[in-house]
Homo-oligomer: 340 residues x 2
DNA sequence: GTTTACTCTGGGAACGTTCACAGAAAATCC
DNA sequence: GGATTTTCTGTGAACGTTCCCAGAGTAAAC
């Protein structure tokens, strides 16, 4: 290619050594801010670095130090969900913030199919990254096993793992769901239903468990409808089904804010007032919540903090800390607004 | 750290050579799928690779080949917008799909402040990546200049650049806005307003230009309200302002779907029927559009394709192609639903 | 004044690949 | 059957760092 011939060879540490009249070893020490360097040498090196426009070659350094200063963020979700899920973006930002502050790169791996899954294992084994943060909704994820076997510093975001060696950062979906359901019950509702979703994921099944626990004896299995996805459409379909099954329903716990939004639109359509006729609560405190009319009561999930904590956990392991067995559950918070 | 002592040294190409009884050079040829390797040697090497669990050391390869097989995705947006913008996620997925198919890594750099901007330039110069894809909403972005100076293979997503050397992939916001406005006029509306947003970005100002062009002599500056962000709240505030200024308004072009959603909720509040009393159109064809009632007529923006094309453009340059001067504008499509 | 400790420097070796080259072996050509 | 081409293989060198060691100089301790 034409541009290669015109682009000058990049300056190396040897150029800096030559120009500054200081040995390669000392230049390296200056570059890494080590002790035992005279001021005189430091100044000379810094001047030479500027003069020749030196910037360190990452590959060479990685080769000799046997690390890459990069951490993978593995997003193991069907592609469509990556966009739907209001938390993933925040987790990503949190992770990125912590890593870049520690001068680490974030390498994003988005994978869907089984084929990809093998590819990822390959990367992780290949030393391309020093550690990994895995976003995965399901327990028993094949990636989990690969990570545990590799013994690479890692952390899961989202749910307890089967592998005690790999720590996780998550929230207690069961307790949170129970909490907001109890709060809904405390408003005096008698016939409370749930639009459950994503029961193949821990978050989905745990939220249903929490709901069941809260209701106790008052639990009526007929008032639970089940759908595969956390989505607006799930809310639309689920609310219709609930209204047909139990026209006297007066409270609904929607498995996510998006679900709640769909449900509220159906309620409006059916002429039921919220919170007058029926109280409704969601989960996530995503941008959906404020956009509903009336504003949605929901559980705030600290997505940004999840990402930050996971990144920090990996950095700690990289610094030599033992990974805590088990994991960390971050606190959720009930945000009570006007929908119930 | 304890785990280091237990973790065995990783197998190298030398181990493969030793076990297979084939020389290092030939092993390398097998690994890279080069010609001039006997079947016998190939089989022996493949067996040995499996036996010792060999996986190539990326750093060593990068060092000698002088490339990293990684491309940076630079997202230059305030953090909050990264989440709000319905297109960024799709662009990211498109980019990721193309890169990973070509066996390239995607390194995501999200930056906000000026400090970060310097850091990114440093990475790009440091050979950490072979190329870069830059998502930037504004022309005149400082990153643009840095990229152009570096002469590193790159592509912009989103808008024309000031730097002719760096190609861009975008859409023609002006033409698209003009198109949908004309379509709205064709439904017989007489008093059409616009809720304009993000006029500091090319997309925002171009959409306003398109609107102005479409209306021609019928353009009434009083019927344009301006807000800083593409958001639901902008739609709420903007629609109220328009209704106060011109109670007889019968058509609205909202600068984005989110804006349109906010506007529609205000219209419902004010008792104006859509599309009976007033027709409304948006922009993006994001998940907002279908979620509105009635479903929103809007302009479909091929976000996934934008990401794909940009990635392909960078890969082509990496393969030796000359970057096209100027750029590529992808087609948009009017999606006509029920809101107008 | 000798030991001991600390500070600073330079250069060899190594990290794990790929590439270029030379030469052997096999296939093809006249 | 010799010359030429093609296929295949092994080895030395290089990529640009960091780490380690040896040694020189200087300061502190006895």
């Amino acid at each position: 290619m034409a541009r290669d011939s015109t682009r000058p060879r990049r300056a190396t540490i040897h150029d800096v050594a030559r120009v500054s009249g200081i040995s390669r070893g000392t230049v390296s020490r200056v570059l890494n801010g080590e002790r035992y360097v005279s001021d005189q040498a430091r100044v000379a090196v810094e001047a030479a670095v500027k003069e020749v426009g030196y910037v360190r070659n990452t590959a060479a350094r990685n080769l000799v130090t046997q690390r890459s200063r990069a951490v993978a963020l593995v997003v193991h979700e069907p592609h469509s969900l990556v966009l739907e899920d209001p938390n993933i973006g925040n987790i990503l930002l949190g992770t990125n913030a912590v890593l870049s502050e520690a001068d680490y790169q974030m390498v994003t791996l988005i994978l869907d199919s089984q084929r990809d899954s093998d590819r990822v294992a390959e990367y992780l084994r290949g030393g391309f990254v020093d550690g990994a943060i895995i976003l995965s909704a399901r327990s028993g994820d094949p990636i989990a096993l690969a990570i545990a076997q590799l013994g690479i510093p890692a952390a899961f975001v989202g749910h307890p793992t089967d592998t005690p060696d790999v720590p996780f950062i998550g929230i207690d979906n069961t307790a949170a769901a129970r909490g907001i359901t109890e709060r809904l019950m405390a408003t005096g509702r008698r016939r409370i239903g749930m639009i459950a979703a994503a029961l193949d994921r821990d978050s989905g099944s745990d939220r249903l468990s929490g709901f069941t626990l809260a209701l106790g004896d008052a639990f009526d299995p007929d008032l639970v409808v089940r759908y595969p996805l956390y989505s607006y459409q799930t809310g639309v379909d689920g609310m219709r089904e609930l209204l047909e099954r139990a026209p006297d329903i007066d409270g609904v716990f929607a498995a996510s804010d998006a679900v709640a939004a769909g449900a509220m639109d159906v309620l409006r359509e059916w002429g039921r007032s919220v919170p007058g006729d029926i109280g409704i609560v969601g989960f996530d405190d995503s941008s959906w919540a404020l956009r509903c009319t009336p504003a949605l009561s929901t559980v705030r999930q600290p997505a940004d903090a999840l990402g930050r904590r996971a990144a920090q956990q990996v950095l700690d392991q990289l610094a030599g800390a033992e990974p805590p067995s088990g994991g960390t559950l971050l606190d959720t918070e009930i945000v009570w607004r006007d929908s119930a």
